[in-house]
């Protein structure tokens, strides 16, 4: 009796959540990026919702990585790169002068194309971010964070006996999951991934894809991919970029079945790319 009531209320709460319009996490308006004099992105407008997996696809050189790097201001580290327009994270302008870019990058983490573990031990790789941001009061707490991050990244069982060995000694797929664990360790809200599987073999790729699906329960994930099957497998929505323009963004199934723009159709049917 009581159980039924509980179940009913849970079900209605779930229904309410599903009907609820998704919560806006980041939004970009008229974002243009210049490398020196040349404009690489020509005014991108895009909304990113909380806890979704959003995939960027498009031919190479179309500006996917460039746009991704705008979202945590990694473009700041490139000489001669200039960004205009407005990007908000939870309603705050991330290019505002008063905003601390260091804190921004802790909230919007990044995983790169080639696995890039630091030449330190596995433990130190994970502990690096939490130490920077003072997330652990004690060694025990730090150990905890390390274990939790590695577990979430599905790597704990493989490395728990060799935490003190160099992260560079792991296989490519393990290294990439180590980098994901490293990003999770600072508890970001959004994780940006730039072709995280392009340097991995199919089995390692499958593991990372599964991991991404699991992570999307707690994080917002934006992933650039060259592999359209991958986008179809893991993403909820897909954005198609072409020559520095965001051509269209929609539910992944719609993009792959009935795209509204002929360029998208040409690309996914393999007429160029």
């Amino acid at each position: 009796m009581e159980n039924d009531v509980m179940r009913a209320s849970l079900a209605s709460a779930e229904a309410a959540q599903n009907n609820h319009t998704p919560e806006l996490k980041m939004s970009a308006r008229d974002v243009r990026v210049f490398y020196g004099e040349s404009e690489a992105l020509h005014g991108v407008d895009l909304d990113i919702y909380a806890n979704e997996v959003l995939a960027f696809i498009g031919p190479s050189g179309c500006g996917k990585s460039t746009f991704l790097r705008c979202l945590n201001r990694m473009n700041d580290t490139i000489d001669g790169c200039r960004v205009t327009g407005r990007i908000e994270l939870d309603g705050e302008d991330i290019y505002d002068r008063r905003l601390d870019v260091v804190l921004l990058r802790a909230r919007v983490g990044m995983v790169f194309q080639k696995p890039n573990p630091f030449p330190k031990s596995i433990y130190e790789n994970i502990a690096y971010g939490p130490r920077l941001h003072g997330l652990a009061e004690s060694r025990a707490e730090l150990d905890e964070i390390v274990q939790r991050s590695l577990t979430r990244a599905g790597l704990w069982d493989e490395v728990k006996d060799r935490l003190d060995q160099p992260g560079t000694g792991l296989s490519g797929g393990q290294q990439q999951r180590l980098c994901i664990a490293r990003a999770i360790a600072v508890s970001p809200e959004v994780i940006l991934m730039d072709e995280p599987c392009s340097a991995l073999d199919p089995i390692a790729t499958a593991k990372v894809e599964q991991l991404i699906t699991e992570l999307s329960e707690s994080y917002t994930i934006v992933i650039v991919t060259h592999n359209m099957q991958q986008a179809a497998r893991i993403s909820k929505r897909t954005a198609f970029f072409h020559l520095g323009n965001l051509v269209e963004v929609d539910e992944t199934t719609k993009i792959f079945t009935t795209p509204s723009d002929s360029r998208t159709e040409d690309y996914i049917t393999g007429r160029f790319g």
């Binding site: 990694m74 990058r105 990044m110 890039n116 030449p119 330190k120 690096y128 920077l132 490293r182």
Partner: protein, 457 residues
Amino acid sequence: MNNWVLVCVLLVAMGFAYQFGTMRSRSLVDGKARMHSRPVHHGLLVALWCGLPAFTVFLLWSLFEPGILRSAVLNQLPPDMAGLQGHELEVLMRRVQSIASGFGVSDQPAAYELAAAERLRSLQGTGRLAMIASMAVLAVTGLVYALRRLSPALRARNHVEAVFRVLLVVCSTIAILTTIGIVLSMVGEALHFFRFVNPVDFFFGTVWNPRFSTTGAGELGQFGLLPLLWGTVMVSIIALLVAVPVGLMTAVFMAEYAPGWVRALAKPIIEVLAGVPTIVYGFFALVMVGPFFHSAGLAVGLDIRATSALTAGVVMGIMIIPFISSLSDDIITQVPKAMRDGSLGLGATKSETIRKVVLPAALPGIVGAVLLAASRAIGETMIVVLAAGNSPILHANPLEAVSTVTVTIVNQLTGDIDFASPQSLVAFALGLTLFAITLSLNIVALYIVRKYREQYE
């Protein structure tokens, strides 16, 4: 002078041979068979056939002629002269050579000397003619032979390749043999020294007081290496204390912060520091830095000698800054951008990234750079000769004068020297010790640097 003309003539002949070779090769083409090699290779092959045998004769001749002539002349000396030994024989030969070359000697030459000179001159004349003649014959024969061998099927390209490989091997063998020769001769002389002085007394002795060989042969003096080695170590440590922080900071600034134009301008300027002759540094230490330290010491009530380990070390530190900054700069720039991105992407600031990721990743390479700089400091001579004060006494005060291994070698080998006495021979033992130290430092440094290189593959 004459030899240069000869070599130039040979080179010109090779030039012509090259022309002949290519011309003939072109005439071979005429549509028929496919050529294995291009005219360039045929030309080169002909030129080599023309030049190399003649040049080999020239080299061998120049190497052995003096010895042969010498024995020919000595055989002709009057019987009472035949017993001459070592030094006197050398003097005689030199006099004979001077007379023969027309340069003359300061006093009236004896009759037998004149006769010997006459004989030497005539032998030299015929020898030279014979050499030129055989070279000419060889050059022409080689040229004709090679031209006749030219054919479309000739693998001239491969032959040329083989000849060049042999040339390269010969040159590197010469370099290696020279090194081995130097080491062996040092070892030989050092062993000679150890016949006078017990190696234990040398390597572990704490007193350096080698007496001068002229002040009586009765007492040998004491040849303790430790005071000198300690001086070397102390000066080098002071130098590294100056150079490592400054050099490293410079490298970090250059690699991470300096905009392109500053780097392009500042790097060569810093590297000039390494090109300044060390005697200039020594001079600078002696007339500027030393007196400055002395008066600065007076101002705070410290007794600092103008020539001291401190002065020499600081100036030497300035000298080796570019070794550290330049090498470390290259190594820091080699750390992949992906490392920095990884750190920045986690929310680290630039300086945190440099301290916690870039420098640790570059550390092995930096250690290698420091070791190379250290071996440079240990072998450095002129600065310490002028500025360290030359006082071979074991003490730990850097404000006092010291002496180093290199300075002592200079001291033992200047003035009247007699290579039969331990006072001079000790220089070889010292040199060998120094060589062993710098060699092992270099090996360790290279090993570390190489290991570091493998890390990012």
